[in-house]
């Protein structure tokens, strides 16, 4: 019985991906891409990898969908409706042959490896030492904490990169106003924002706390928080902050910094990112709670995009769009 579910789901995933890539209209492509992200979340549920399903549904369908919708709108306002020019038949034929060969090779390689939960047996005996039961959180924050530390810096780095795209002379302005122009819609979005932000905060706090024993974690929680922040910004319930607000900068850096400090403190217990005996859970929760705040703020600002609205600099008027 489960076989039918997996096969139908996989066929729908391939169909949604194919349409998302090759349909002419840009919005149809994005709508199919959001559906593709949701179906992928189901694929991870089918694989009983609920941690990944949470991340895929929250990040893949939620944040990436919003990101692409806003990007398409901004391109449309610039007169670019993101439809593709046709490529030459030769290029298409050559690419088709190459990719088909690539898929066959990849499929052969994949089929030659019998799927089995290899490292699960290696991780299981080490879990009691950490005091948590969720093995994925154990891997993410204890056995491979180094990757997660770098990942939190990559997220921060991406925000710095997006901010660096602001036109010259607009620093330290604010991102484009996300507010809705249409008044009835603004009221609906505002009330949804006022409902969603507290719920997102509670949901995120629950996900981080539960993340040590049942599926959850800082990244999934951060994404839910980012969703709440985005809707509040769209509804005008909250304004987008100036990039140089000290409070904002602390919030953005808090997660990675706490992670790094706890990692350095580990030097006293045997090595970088080694948690002291018996208090691993406390260290992990301290890291995760500071991390999810930074991730929520960072993702929301990543979606808001580079600064566009300059700040009236008392020294000299920074006009909004100085030619760069």
């Amino acid at each position: 019985m489960t076989g039918a579910f997996d096969i139908i789901l996989c066929l729908m995933i391939l169909g949604a991906a194919g349409i998302a890539l090759f349909v002419r209209d840009a919005l149809a492509a994005i709508a199919f891409f959001i559906a593709f992200g949701n179906l992928l979340g189901l694929a991870w549920l089918g694989l009983d990898a609920v941690n990944v399903a949470l991340a895929e549904i929250a990040l893949g369908a939620g944040v990436t969908g919003v990101l692409l919708i806003l990007a398409r709108a901004r391109l449309l306002a610039l007169g670019d409706d993101a439809t593709c020019a046709d490529t030459s038949a030769w290029l298409r034929a050559g690419a088709l042959a190459a990719c088909a060969g690539f898929v066959l090779l990849l499929a052969a390689a994949v089929l030659s490896i019998p799927p089995e939960s290899g490292l699960d047996r290696a991780v299981a005996p080490l879990m009691p030492g950490l005091g948590i039961e969720n093995r994925v959180t154990g891997v993410l924050l204890a056995f491979r904490a180094y990757d997660t530390l770098l990942e939190s810096f990559v997220l921060l780095g991406a925000l710095v990169a997006v901010w660096s795209l602001a036109p010259a002379g607009v620093w330290p302005g604010r991102p484009a106003d996300l507010g809705v122009a249409d008044v009835p819609m603004r009221r609906v979005a505002r009330s949804f924002g006022r409902f969603l932000l507290p719920v997102a905060l509670v949901m995120a706090a629950y996900l981080v706390w539960a993340g040590s024993d049942v599926p959850g974690g800082a990244f999934q929680a951060g994404t839910v928080l980012a969703g709440g922040l985005m809707v509040s910004a769209i509804g005008g319930a909250i304004g987008l902050p100036r990039s140089d607000l000290p409070g904002l900068r602390v919030a953005l850096v808090l997660g990675p910094l706490v992670f790094l400090l706890i990692g350095l403190a580990g030097m006293g217990f045997g090595g970088f990112l080694v948690y002291p005996e018996g208090s691993a859970k406390a260290a992990i929760l301290a890291i995760e709670y500071s991390l999810f705040l930074s991730i929520g703020a960072t993702l929301a600002l990543l979606v808001a995009g580079p600064n566009v609205i300059g700040w009236p600099d008392p020294a000299g008027g920074t006009d909004r769009h100085s030619d760069c």
């Binding site: 249409d182 009835p184 819609m185 609906v188 979005a189 949804f192 409902f195 719920v199």
Partner: protein, 103 residues
């Protein structure tokens, strides 16, 4: 097949029927407003019945409370999205036949 199993099956069947009706409605209805109707009402009722069946089958109260929360958020989200989409459909409608006049 105890009584609860029968109830679970009945609820599951009804829930799926509404889901199917909602999806078919989205496909068959002539204009945006009626499709929105299908999207918001039929589907959420379907979800509610399926959720009830799952809660009954599960048997534990904590899980039933979480399932009720899922359904509550789904209904709230449906209310919000139908408002926004209906407004957007009207804006597209007014803009299309009264081109050039921003609402």
């Amino acid at each position: 097949m105890s009584w609860t199993d029968l109830a679970v099956l009945a609820l599951l069947g009804a829930g799926l029927a509404f889901y199917g009706a909602g999806s078919l409605g989205l496909l068959r209805f002539p204009d945006t407003a009626s499709r929105l109707h299908a999207l918001t009402k039929a589907d959420n009722l379907g979800l509610g019945l399926v959720a009830l069946a799952a809660a009954l089958h599960w048997g534990s109260l904590a899980v039933a409370a979480k399932i009720a929360l899922v359904w509550l958020f789904a209904v709230i989200a449906a209310g919000i999205t139908s408002q926004l989409l209906a407004r957007q459909a009207r804006l597209d409608g007014t803009r299309s036949h009264r081109d050039g006049v921003q609402p």
